[in-house]
Symmetry: C2
Subunit: 334 residues, 2 copies
Amino acid sequence: MVSSSGTEPRKVTIHDVARSAGVSRQTVSRALNDKDEIDGSTKQRVLDAARELGYRPSRFARGLVRQDTTTIGLVIPDLLNPFFTEVAAAALEAARARGWHVVVYDTADRAEEELGTLQVIGSQVDAVIGYFSCSEDELEQFTRGVPVVLIGREHHTPRFSSIRIDGEEGVHAAVAHLVAEGHTRVGMLDHGGRAEPSVRREWFATAAAAYGIDTDMVVGADQSADGGGAALKTLLTAHPDVTAVFTFNDIIAIGALREARRLGRSVPQDLAVIGFDGLKLGALVEPPLSSVALDTRKLGALAIEQVARLLTGGNPLGADDLVVRAELRLVGSA
Amino acid sequence: MVSSSGTEPRKVTIHDVARSAGVSRQTVSRALNDKDEIDGSTKQRVLDAARELGYRPSRFARGLVRQDTTTIGLVIPDLLNPFFTEVAAAALEAARARGWHVVVYDTADRAEEELGTLQVIGSQVDAVIGYFSCSEDELEQFTRGVPVVLIGREHHTPRFSSIRIDGEEGVHAAVAHLVAEGHTRVGMLDHGGRAEPSVRREWFATAAAAYGIDTDMVVGADQSADGGGAALKTLLTAHPDVTAVFTFNDIIAIGALREARRLGRSVPQDLAVIGFDGLKLGALVEPPLSSVALDTRKLGALAIEQVARLLTGGNPLGADDLVVRAELRLVGSA
DNA sequence: TTGAAAGCGGTACCAC
DNA sequence: GTGGTACCGCTTTCAA
């Protein structure tokens, strides 16, 4: 006796409606799809029967025959991370403009969940946009045949597309600004975790070098406000003479802002802070966070646009077009 | 000549693979679905052929025959509003636990988009969870037959379910705390827009009355940080003697926090602030925002749980179980 | 181990 | 205006 207590309501099909209304299935179809080759009264009768029976057309059957609806899968590590929130919102907006549906998968920053998602997603969507941590091999293996647009990393196989984030100029401008303000000891809070330094750090190093600034004061930070705070503390302990910091991203910067206040350093007077991403969130903290800002809406729009092209087999955008440039936005913290 | 320049790649079906591999369609199916009633070499041959042709099974055809995958639609007015971000994240998490897919629709706070979504969603998902602004009549009309769980408002028709937010005790505790701290002039920043005062305001009024506190100092605020800031300014201009404010939600409270600083009032010394929602965001501002906190994860989990019951026709949760209680969390701003 | 046939629930194209 | 039929692409009996 495993069956549920409720009256397991066997799926009502178009056939049931047809029989109940005393018409054929196609007539039911006509009534439901508002075709005009049908008598008014018949139509009403069918509609009534359908309501009566609680009929709902199967999206699968319908999708099978009229191949219209496109659904894309959006895979992100953490929707609560404001950066991904913005990316997701942007993708949703761009998708909505095309009448597409977006299935969102939050992998909770777990590699296993990511793989699991990848596994199942292939048979659920027409294309994938995502921020993945797995290898391209794994990606390829699971998404075989599905267009994939990568966010937050660059692809090495022509099999994929990716939206490149170009912050070189923006970071240079940030450093230039700090130098112009008289800062000579500028530290950086890079991301922690992965072994290799980030591209953002390279941009920073290049710019710093161009201004003859020391570039060794770098501390890795967890990708969280707490991580940023802790990293700032470490940095200032090791280098008390630091008067400005550039951070891997805004979340880290916001944590640094908070920690600076706790350490009795007022921002931007005693410590200038410049983040990266330009999150809307930056406007809510005090002082407002200066940042090398990304146009996340454009990022989302580009990803969707590329998917569209990939899907139609039309000419996909090249690497040169798949770029979002970040630019310095000074509002308070520097 | 409207045809695209690319080689419109006609959909490869299981049939093509079968022919190419020199087997029948069902053998292809076996190979792809990893059944064991198939010869190893045959399987490999089929797999190769499939890869060769770039074959991808149709999710519609597959869904049609094995009726497993459930997809739920999540409709929210604005993913960038941190409250909805949390709700969405919670729903995604709960859905993932069941292996469900979630299609997210952001209606951009526009009634027309909401209706449009409603229109299309019925034929795309198995159930709907959402924060809607339209009438129950409209909801009913468009979601006919689909289980619907409402968030942020209560239902009046048995046709729907809703997750109720019970903040009565929490708000009472908030007022009690303020009173205990010596505050006698407590204002409120309610939501603006709609004509009627919010339920939260009623809770506030009731609690305030219980402590013999004046309850007229209420200002409506736009649901944004800026709105909260502006509202606080209005409030303090009209009632300079106010020493504490309770707000409709955390976003408004955060705006108030910012404005207070600009007005030279330090928080919580000169002005105590208590929000509502308990967003994670509240931990990022200075001082950390005290709030009548909601368990958004539970909210999402409840919604999904109810959907599950509705879907199986099993015994759905009653109103008494569909409640999320909010409780006071004091961390800094009061 | 493999294949033929019968659906899954709709829609389109044809007669009537 | 309405019904018959084929078919969308795949899986699941059931024989062979």
